[in-house]
């Protein structure tokens, strides 16, 4: 049991470190190092612009999407080498946020189902950050139940005509391409009538509208499709096989290994270490200490769980299901920590001005943003179902709509 690199890993790390040392955009280091709790902003520039420049430089040096084959823009690195790269990239990794959906989900799907011509054309540009991709899955009528989606694609000659609406699309407003799942046959049960495509987001009839979120920010979009034309050669997988294709997209969870989810704990520990209350430092209060200790062991538990997964990768094994717990644990933690940090400030805890104590309202912002952490990318409840069914082997829920033609499924509760 040790934390040491193998000789090959150490050599790879040294090479990566040297390249980053020589090429990283150091002018942003201080700003990126600041805690952002998952929300990255640069003072004077757009994260997408700075990110594109960094991604391009990485691609020129052979470090973009490094675990992809060389012919598609990568360097054919092993999974453990990708983790080592992420560790070395450190705070600059935050600049890659706009590309993560493309790299982690869209790219692998194109790689698995696209034609050779498409792969050679689209993937290198995705890898180098020249093109940004988004994922068009969720709909107003299908969030957790994504197979309940209603966006229609109808065949007309060599093209498909798409009408409908997607929602919660991160980055749609700056994306060049999108991975789109549609319903092509409403007369068969819901999982059987789906088909996957990719499309140019500048196609006629695509309209992107930002969503104003509960926390006041605008990070997600609605995307409307009105008679959008997609050529049949942009179909991924067979007609009616979209559900299986989407599973490939969603199962590409390896990308999450080694990337650290924000828990809010380091910020909370620092806050309690410095906050003076009427009874002394917050961290000297027994109730606060007890809560801090419980959060501390959750944070360290997640850290060492990811180390166990990295160790599996290092041995060339497929990591086990342990890593599925990350978002489930950290989402609730962020919410609980924010609530308690505000509680510790008493009545003034609700104030958010920059001149207020407590780090310019970072916990208040965390409070308002944290509900999305428990919903986006799989709700807490869906994640528990996944653990129960795929890890513990419990039976699937009884699905009343499983064998019913999609157009016979009720659409209203009452």
């Amino acid at each position: 049991m040790n934390f040491d690199d193998t000789p090959q890993e150490a050599e790879f790390r040294a090479t990566a470190r040297k390249w980053i040392e020589a090429n990283a955009p150091k002018q942003y280091e201080a700003e990126l190092s600041k805690s952002s709790l998952g929300r990255i902003r640069l003072e004077k520039e757009e994260i997408v612009d700075v990110g594109k420049a960094w991604q391009k430089k990485k691609a020129e040096g052979g470090w973009a999407c490094l675990h992809w084959p060389k012919e598609y823009g990568g360097r054919g690195a092993t999974p453990i080498e990708k983790v080592i790269w992420q560790q070395e990239e450190g705070v600059y990794g935050k600049l890659t946020q706009p590309f993560q959906i493309g790299e982690g989900m869209c790219g692998p799907t194109v790689m698995a189902f696209g034609s050779e011509e498409h792969k050679r054309h689209y993937l290198p540009k995705l890898a180098s950050g020249e093109h940004i991709w988004c994922q068009l899955f969720s709909e107003p009528a299908g969030g957790s139940d994504v197979a309940g989606l209603r966006t229609r694609a109808e065949k007309k000659g060599d093209n498909w005509i798409v009408n409908g609406q997607k929602i919660w699309t991160s980055g749609a407003h700056y994306s060049d391409y999108g991975l789109l799942i549609t319903r092509t046959d409403p007369n068969v049960p819901k999982h059987k009538g789906l088909t996957m495509f990719f499309l140019d987001m500048k196609s006629k009839g695509v309209e992107v509208r930002p969503i104003k979120q509960a926390n006041g920010m605008q990070e997600f979009n609605e995307v409307y499709f009105t008679d959008v034309v997609i050529p049949d050669h942009q179909r991924l997988g067979a007609v009616g096989d979209g559900w299986n294709v989407s599973l490939t997209t969603l199962m590409n969870e390896r990308m999450s290994i080694g990337s650290r989810l924000a828990t809010g704990f380091p910020e909370m520990f620092e806050f309690c270490s410095n906050l003076m209350t009427d009874d002394g430092l917050a961290i000297d209060d027994p109730a606060t200490r007890s809560k801090l200790a419980s959060w501390a062991v959750k944070a360290s538990g997640l850290k060492y769980t990811s180390y166990r997964a990295i160790s599996s990768l290092s041995k060339g094994e497929r990591p086990g299901p342990e890593n599925s717990i990350g978002k489930l644990v950290s989402g609730t933690m962020l919410q609980d920590i924010a609530t308690y940090a505000m509680d510790l400030q008493g009545a003034a805890g609700e104030l958010t001005g920059a001149d207020e104590q407590a780090a310019s309202g970072q916990f208040q912002q965390m409070l308002l943003s944290s509900p999305s952490m428990r919903i986006a990318g799989g709700t807490d409840e869906i994640l528990r179902n996944i653990i129960a069914e795929r890890v513990l082997g419990l039976p699937g829920d009884i699905r009343v709509d499983k064998d019913v033609p999609f157009n016979k499924i009720p659409t209203k509760g009452r």
Binding site: M1, D4, L292, A293, S294, Y304, N385, A388, L392, P395
Partner: protein, 375 residues
């Protein structure tokens, strides 16, 4: 990075699991639970023959000379089997205190007997209510004898010797405390069994009346040695707790697959699934914290105090969480004497206290993190 046990260590875990499945089925645990025996003597001898009692004891002192990582994997299996033997008191507390502070002669006297199953040892620390604290130690040492009362002492009624924390000064500092070795069979010590929540791990009151004692470690070093012993024991006991958590989770999962209600397995209801998923989460977090503790223990790293406290807290929470929800998943049957759920519930809630309570260790963790941050 290889943050995992080696193939040899995993093989040892498999051997221990197989051995305990055969020699320590729930039926054997119940013999002790029902008061038919104070501990399972045959199992204790079997553990000695397998080399498990002395796995971390050097060969020079009659052990297998393996190490603490090997002891961690054995500990996990002891917890999984709910073994009714004085393993934690003898191996994690008494043997570790001897290894840390004993003279060669003291090690030579007791360690080979621990490894061979001839001697049961324990640590006599507590004196009534409260958590580990030098202030709480009143038992007096004078002229090579001890006088005072210790309780609860784990496995105190069946132990052959004890490491005893005693007061040798009155300055109000940690240096007032020294450790002593006492042969409990040599007279001067009266042992009384106490009733407790988990009869498969007995507790006793030991009354020392001018009992002959020899110093263990230098005078005044008692508290510092004890702190190290408790940290080591915290990691090892945490592995027992993780083993117990996993077993409780398995029992709940199996029952949810088998039990039919409302025309379907109860494990197909999300209300039940989510309970089990949360048990998996807490058991996984605990296991990962324990691995870090095992690394720190086996390398004697400066991170051990923090790692031990984290492992202890996480594993205590996980075992309590898993054992109580195992009963919940079983419904009414889980509340019967006949089903084994309560044995794990009992063990979870006694191991939660035996080295000091959860709140004590939470306090320790925060103190240790602050110390590290300040440094």
């Amino acid at each position: 990075m290889n943050f995992d046990f080696s193939d040899e260590q995993k093989q040892m875990r498999d051997e221990a699991r197989k051995f305990l499945a055969e020699k320590c089925p729930p039926k054997a645990v119940r013999e002790v639970l029902d008061g038919k025996a104070p501990y399972d003597k045959a199992l204790w001898q079997g553990l000695a023959e397998m080399g498990f009692l002395g796995v971390a004891i050097p060969e020079a002192f009659g052990g297998a000379g393996a190490g603490h990582l090997e002891l961690c994997v054995i500990a996990e299996e002891m917890g999984r089997a709910n073994a009714p033997v004085p393993f934690s008191s003898t191996v994690y507390l008494a043997a570790e205190a001897l290894l840390l502070a004993g003279t060669d002669a003291q090690k030579q006297k007791w360690l080979p007997k621990i490894a061979s199953g001839e001697a049961i040892g324990t640590l006599a620390l507590f004196e009534g209510k409260g958590n580990p604290s030098p202030k709480a130690i009143k038992l007096q040492a004078s002229g090579g004898t001890l006088t005072g009362v210790k309780k609860p002492v784990p496995d105190g009624a069946i132990a052959d010797f004890a490491v005893v924390a005693a007061r040798t000064g009155s300055t109000g500092r940690d240096a007032d405390i020294s450790l002593f070795l006492v042969d409990l069979k040599a007279g001067g010590v009266e042992a009384k069994s106490l009733t407790n929540v988990d009869p498969t791990r007995g507790q006793a009151e030991l009354t020392f009346k001018n009992a002959k004692a020899e110093p263990l470690g230098a005078a005044g070093d008692g508290w510092s040695i004890l702190t190290q012993v408790l940290d080591r024991a915290a990691v090892l006991l945490a592995f027992e707790q993780v083993g117990g958590s996993d077993r409780a989770l398995e029992m709940g999962r199996d029952y949810a697959l088998d039990r039919i209600a409302f025309g379907r397995p109860i494990g197909s209801f999300q209300a039940v699934k989510h309970i089990l998923a949360d048990m998996y989460v807490s058991a996984t977090l605990a296991r990962s914290n324990c691995y870090y503790g095992a690394w720190a223990l086996s390398t004697n790293a400066s991170e051990l105090p923090e790692a031990a406290a984290a492992a202890r807290i996480s594993a205590t929470q996980a075992f309590q969480h898993c054992s109580k929800n195992n009963i919940q998943v079983h419904g009414g049957m889980g509340f019967t004497w006949e089903f084994d759920c309560h044995m794990y519930y009992r063990r979870a809630n006694t191991t939660a206290l035996t080295l000091g309570s959860l709140s004590y260790w939470e306090d320790q963790l925060i103190d240790r993190m602050r110390k590290k941050n300040a440094a």
